[in-house]
């Protein structure tokens, strides 16, 4: 496995939180706070001891485009000073279409960003309102057109399904609308009720689709994207012409990555660790807020378990020799796994119950 490293920068600012979201973000993105935060990120970046080859940089959130082109540019130039970014390094950025404009897109492009991940979620404006999103489908369309005009050649659309009040018919509309925009990549997640979210607390006010409906929507997602020439290369990810998310593949392939910013996770030198989910503390002391020192190096067994757990998310699967033959054959018989080239993969149907499958294989 190559020695390359991925970098993740967490931009934890949101104008307001969507009702289903459990990720770390803060609402008070004043210019001062953003500057202080930039300074802290720069500090953590500069302190990094071991410059290695970087194949992916990812700005996630939160809402990275709340950070603005000026700061992003500053950050990226520090990154390229500090690390060696490969020629074809993937530099991704998540984008909220509600606050995007052509000028910014141009500036990000100039700064080096070459992949966009646009949070479209749905093409149904009522659904977007219900989820607490601050944009419409038209915003996504405009954002997409601007990005194409600017010359971005690698764009992903984020979609959601199994949403309250939605059915296959409505989801099909979203899918068609998304496919009409011809993104290189689609990520689609079913709605999860997360601890501590307003949605969970108010769940009695919504009607959620049942397991069977959710499965139908997933099947629809798979068949429509497949029909349009997308490869279903990971549970929730679909790519055209090999535009897979290099950054995410980095995770699934158990390669090293470093997370910057509060609540960011890292895998480095066989250790998994994360920064504290506290932006104030991070701004104060960006170098000591992670638990690298206290983290324990993964054992050989854990590493293999992770390889299995993460590898089976993708269509690369895992080496058959890592798994129990008997268990594999039981699951193959039920249509949950298939074997190809001595690698075991989970079928599309199996991905829907992949926790249980992986649990069964590892037990």
């Amino acid at each position: 496995m190559s020695d390359s490293v991925a970098l993740y920068y967490h931009i934890p600012f949101c104008k307001r939180k969507c009702i289903y979201c459990a990720f770390y973000s803060v609402p008070w993105a004043t210019e001062e706070v953003k500057d202080a935060y930039l300074f802290a990120l720069l500090k953590q970046t500069a302190s990094f001891p071991e410059p290695r080859e970087i194949t992916s940089v990812y700005f996630g959130g939160g809402t990275p485009n709340l950070f603005g082109p000026r700061r992003l540019d500053k950050l990226l130039s520090e990154i390229s000073k500090r690390f060696h970014l490969t020629e074809d390094c993937e530099i991704s950025m998540e984008l909220n279409p509600g606050i995007s404009c052509f000028e910014d897109l141009h500036a990000y492009h100039m700064a080096g960003v070459n992949r966009l991940s646009i949070g479209m979620q749905s093409s149904d404006d009522d659904t977007l309102t219900l989820l607490g999103r601050n944009h419409t489908f038209l915003d996504t369309v405009n954002c997409m057109n601007d990005a194409r005009k600017e010359g971005y050649g690698n764009i992903s659309l984020d979609l959601m399904f199994a949403l309250p009040g939605m059915d296959c018919g409505k989801f099909e509309k979203t899918l068609s609308d998304a496919l009409n925009l011809e993104p290189e990549h689609i990520s689609a997640y079913s709605l999860q009720l997360e601890e501590g979210t307003p949605l969970l607390m108010a769940k009695h006010n919504y009607i959620f689709p049942d397991e069977d409906e959710e499965e139908r929507e997933y099947q629809l997602l798979c068949s429509r994207t497949g029909g349009a020439g997308y490869r279903h290369y990971e549970i929730s990810s679909f790519a055209r012409n090999d535009h897979v998310s290099r950054h995410n593949m980095h995770y699934w392939q158990c390669r090293d990555y470093i997370g910057f910013g509060p609540a960011a996770h890292s895998y480095w030198n066989g250790k998994r660790f994360s920064n504290k989910a506290d932006i104030k503390e991070y701004i104060k002391e960006p170098l000591i807020s992670n638990d690298y020192d206290s983290a324990e190096r993964l054992s050989e067994e854990e590493m293999i378990e992770e390889q299995i757990m993460l590898g089976l998310r993708t269509d690369e699967g895992v080496k058959a020799s890592l798994l129990s033959k008997k268990k594999v054959s039981i699951l193959m018989e039920k249509g949950y796994l298939f074997l190809n080239d001595n690698r075991v993969r989970i079928t599309e149907r199996g991905w829907r119950v992949s926790n249980s499958i992986i649990g069964f294989l590892l037990a």
Binding site: Y189, E211, S274, E306, K334
Partner: protein, 607 residues
């Protein structure tokens, strides 16, 4: 009378008998309080009921005895021994032995409820033991109290005079003194010869980790002294007496000797409670009495069930807990048992369903164990084709039907007292439970007594609770075993994914098999979480499937989002899955949580 001055004429040994909740323990407390045996503030609710569980359930599980002195209006001081009796039908034998230790019994009847099934059962037992019965009407402070009705019922139904029965309120402390006066006036003093060879009745015992078994005895004849070599006439065990004494409310008071007519205890470094069986006769090795006291019975468990730890690794803890409980409860039996489905556990024998529930609850509460208890089974008697007779208390051991010439099940005579309004439903219910009508009597205009012979198996499945709910809580129940009867029995097996789950097998009356089978497969279907695989749940007799349900395969179990490289949640999920497996029972590729078994084994319905 000074404490060491022995005068048999001034001794009164008595019990209090009552239907459950008629106020037995409360009256006991008042008597002790009134005579100064304990101060009022020392009465922590009902002190005779030591165990936490007893207090909660308001029932007395094991007999206790308390001695108190009462200075009567005639100027004499009397030594009174109150021997408490277990208040439930499961403990009938213990009750009868406690009564044998007495000359009289205070019969409490609730002035609002009148005579109830256990009032009758206990009163008859007292009459059978030639006890002087002293009726007392309790709860006269309640607005709905009808003391005259209660007295009339005692006379009409039990047939003992009750016109001058004291009317009291144990709760409010009304007329307690009158009860005491009547005890010394009406209950005869014991007969017995302190110089004759020792003849003492064991009516209870419990294990003390310092002294060994503490044996509660009533001296019928003779004397027991420290240093005596005593012999248990039925078990044959011999011991040297280390300590004797009387039983006070909160302590044991050492004495050099106990004499004929007295109630007290002795210790003799006895390690095994099985050596001191209730009902056995204690005599002296060198100067034995001619004959043991009559009425000794070896107590046989009537109800059996398998008890398993929900977490298989707790087997050792369960064993230790059962051993500890058995130290004080010789009627509890257990032996190791292995189940394919539940792993290692114990086959336990109980006197009855209540006894089983108590043990189960004490294991869970006092020993902090999480248990799976299999469906209770009675002991079936099977005559095999080769002529031999087999007793089966575990469905797993039920032989091939082809080898059974005749199957028999234990029958009890059940007495139900119910308001006349519910006679119809009760009769129908008894009939549904395969009851054979024996007799019906109208006790008065409002209540009837029904007698049915019915299989014990029907009683242990929730009979009492259903009876209660059918009669708005008014009916009362008593029963006694009367023998075995031929029956049409089948063994019903439950299969998951085609594999038999031994722990769920049970023996059932053939006509009942189908509805029971349906209920069980439905309950399993509802309680087994969806799995990766579709899971057939079947009930079968022999090889023939009579009911089937399917647990559908799960459709969704995925954590799709792995945000910003945060795989910790996914790992945690897997850890949780692994942890949860400890409470899972695996059958090939199928996982069943312990909870599903518990839900199914809790037969909380009619079928």
């Amino acid at each position: 009378m000074s404490q060491n001055h022995y005068d048999i004429r001034k001794i009164r040994n008595f019990s209090i008998i009552a239907h459950i909740d008629h106020g037995k323990s409360t009256l006991a407390d008042r008597l002790l309080e009134k005579t100064g045996a304990v101060a009022a503030r020392e009465v922590e609710e009902q002190m005779l009921d030591n165990m936490e569980l007893e207090r909660e359930r308001g029932i007395t599980i094991k007999a206790r005895a308390v001695r108190f002195l009462y200075q009567a209006k005639d100027g004499d001081t009397y030594e009174c021994n109150l021997i408490d009796t277990p208040g439930h039908v499961d403990f009938g034998y213990e009750v009868s032995r406690s009564l044998t230790a007495c000359e009289g019994a205070v019969l409490i009847v609730d002035a609002t409820q009148g005579v109830q099934a256990q009032t009758l059962g206990n009163a008859y037992m007292a009459v059978d033991n030639d006890l002087e019965i002293l009726p007392v009407i309790n709860k006269i402070d309640l607005p709905s109290a009808d003391p005259d009705m209660a007295k009339r019922e005692i006379e009409d139904i039990i047939g003992i005079p009750a016109s001058d029965a004291p009317c009291i309120s144990a709760k409010m402390g009304i007329n307690i003194e009158e009860v005491l006066e009547r005890i010394v006036r009406d209950i005869p003093s014991p007969k017995g010869d302190a110089l004759a060879p020792l003849r003492a009745l064991i009516f209870d015992s419990y294990y003390d980790s310092y002294k060994g078994v503490i044996v509660y005895i009533r001296i019928m004849d003779g004397t027991i002294s420290v240093g005596d070599i005593v012999k248990m006439m039925h078990t044959g065990a011999e011991f040297e007496v280390v300590e004797t004494g009387t039983l006070n409310a909160f302590s044991m008071e050492k004495r050099e000797a106990l004499y004929a007519g007295e109630v007290g205890y002795f210790t003799a470094s006895i390690k095994n409670i099985g050596d001191t069986k209730v009902g056995d006769t204690v005599t002296l090795k060198d100067r034995p009495c001619a004959e043991p006291l009559p009425g000794f019975k070896k107590v046989q468990p009537m109800v059996f069930s398998g008890i398993y730890p929900a977490d298989g690794s707790k087997y050792g803890d369960l064993k230790e807990a059962l051993e500890k409980l058995q130290l004080n409860d010789a009627s509890l039996t257990f032996e190791p048992e292995t189940s394919v489905a539940l792993g290692f556990g114990f086959r336990c024998g109980f006197l009855g369903l209540l006894h089983m529930e108590i043990i189960d609850e004490r294991l869970e509460r006092e020993f902090n164990l999480d248990l799976i208890t299999t469906a209770p089974s009675v002991v079936y008697e099977l005559v095999l084709t080769d002529g031999s007779v087999l007793h089966v208390d575990n469905p797993s051991n039920y032989p091939d039907p082809a080898k059974i010439k005749e199957a028999r099940e234990p029958i009890v005579r059940a007495t139900v007292i119910t308001p006349t309004d519910y006679v119809g439903p009760v009769m129908q219910f008894c009939l549904d439970r395969r009851g054979v009508y024996i007799d019906m009597k109208y006790l008065d205009q409002t209540r009837a007594e029904l007698k049915y012979d019915m299989p014990l198996n029907e009683i242990i499945y929730d009979f009492f609770d259903t009876l209660k709910s059918k009669t708005k809580g008014y009916a009362s129940l008593d029963y006694e075993p009367i023998g075995y009867k031929k029956s049409d029995l089948v063994k019903l097996d439950i299969l998951l994914n085609g594999e038999m789950i031994d722990a769920l097998s049970f023996i059932v009356f053939a006509d009942r098999a189908y509805p029971r089978a349906r209920r069980i497969v439905e309950k399993l279907r509802d309680n087994i979480p969806r799995q990766l695989f579709e899971l057939p749940v079947q009930a079968a007799i022999g090889g023939k499937v009579i009911a089937r349900e399917t647990v559908k395969a799960m459709r969704k179990d995925v954590l799709a989002k792995c945000y910003g490289g945060d795989i910790t949640r996914k790992k945690k999920l897997l850890e949780k899955q692994k942890e949860g497996k400890k409470r899972m029972r695996s059958f090939g590729s199928v996982q069943v949580p312990s909870e599903a078994f518990m839900a199914v084994l809790k037969m909380d319905d009619d079928t």
